[in-house]
Chain length 136, copies 4
DNA sequence: GTGGTCTAGACCACA
DNA sequence: GTGGTCTAGACCACG
């Protein structure tokens, strides 16, 4: 399996999310869309840290979270690799988190006084075109 | 105009949002849906703090944010009242915050491996039925 | 709800487990047995770190893991509290991890040439007497 | 005595254990169950490394550990052979390692909220059917 | 070379 | 005061 190329991740300083969060989101998205395929090796902690100009510990933290969530798996001394898909969370847990995400988004839409149709259309447009991995 | 009655706000300890955020979200939602009508008076800082069993500073902070966002207006010596609709945020600011909200929601959907159709349907359903104020 | 008293946790330097792991295991066990009851507040990150003579970051890491696993919940600015029990993992995930734990233990029993009866009796004895929380 | 045939060992990439550990566990288990009988010769370091597609150093390290533990013995210039049963570890050392294994397993059971009865039954079932070598 | 852990010290948001 | 994040630098096990 090939190592990933430069992994076009970018850290946006203006982004409200913490850096480690941006890394987690970015990599998770690339795995979900298949851009990072099963078994591919990720950039090394030190390598990605240097590429992004951040501290290796920050990358390590992001990688640890992705590993705990089951998206990556570590092979000692070799590196980190994209793990096979699996349903890690119970239905209730997923439902709970999804509810929270929906509530948060709806509150923001209300706060910004965005038209419901526009909000729905935007979400629809963003989600279409994403190729999801089949869950095991 | 009548003062609001008890203002059925509830602070959920299991909620991931900070308390001040829960207050802001709750009041904003009630204004947006018309449950809190234009000109109605809000509970005093001390009164609401006591009712919710929280620190008055936290209520004051929430009220300040709602006032800054244009949802409430202060009448010196009388208290806080629901303000007439207006557009406080610049187009850029609204667009930026909306983009962030969309990004956050999409990432959550991906992380939870929720089907795009289901996510869109859910947002649509939650937003319908909310009566929005007309923006100025 | 009362704050926990000294929380008799001890860090064993001779223990093969990393310090943060010992904290996670210790607290999880106390929650499972009910010694730390629902809603109780945990020692502060800095407080526990000082009590154990370790770095606050190490405690924070352990707390973060327990929070991610659903045993604790954070209330911003207030502290960490024992969360209500819930089944966070899917049946497959729990089964997978349990299989791994069994395999690891069996391998160790074989390596040490411990009599099967002795191993079973020991596990039985250790698990009995633990009062488990009822899952929601 | 015959050399072992292919030694049906498999390295599972999804396994959390380091590769050397998988080899040690696998061979030790086969000796304990009698699948690898006293006096049988093991595959050469290079041969096994090639068969498994891993680094020869890793195989060498695993063999060294098994030799140190008394499961294998080296006959200069001939290769490695399954050694006669003996008790290498001191009582204290065995007891300490066994305690650690028990502790680890119990913590996993608690973390996964597995019923004690189920855990005991599973360990019992896994250990029965394994034929143990008599200790010297 | 790889990831994993720990320490030290700083800054932030929240109450 | 609380937890959360980031940086910096060190040491370890594994391959």
């Amino acid at each position: 399996m090939p190592r990933t190329q430069a992994l076009m991740l970018e850290i946006a300083t203006g982004d409200a999310r913490p850096i480690s969060r941006q890394i987690v989101d970015g990599i998770r998205m690339r795995i979900a869309t298949g851009e990072l395929a099963l078994g591919m090796q990720l950039p090394s902690v030190r390598g990605l840290a240097q590429q992004l100009g951040i501290n290796p510990n920050t990358v390590a933290k992001a990688y640890a979270e992705l590993t705990a969530e089951g998206w990556l798996e570590s092979r000692q001394g070799l590196g980190l690799f994209v793990a096979p898909p699996r349903q890690r969370l119970s239905a209730e847990e997923r439902s709970k988190r999804f509810d929270e995400a929906v509530t948060r988004f709806v509150h923001e839409v209300v706060a910004l006084d965005v038209a419901p149709d526009e909000a729905v259309a935007r979400i629809d447009s963003e989600l279409q075109g994403l190729a999801f991995r089949k869950s095991a």
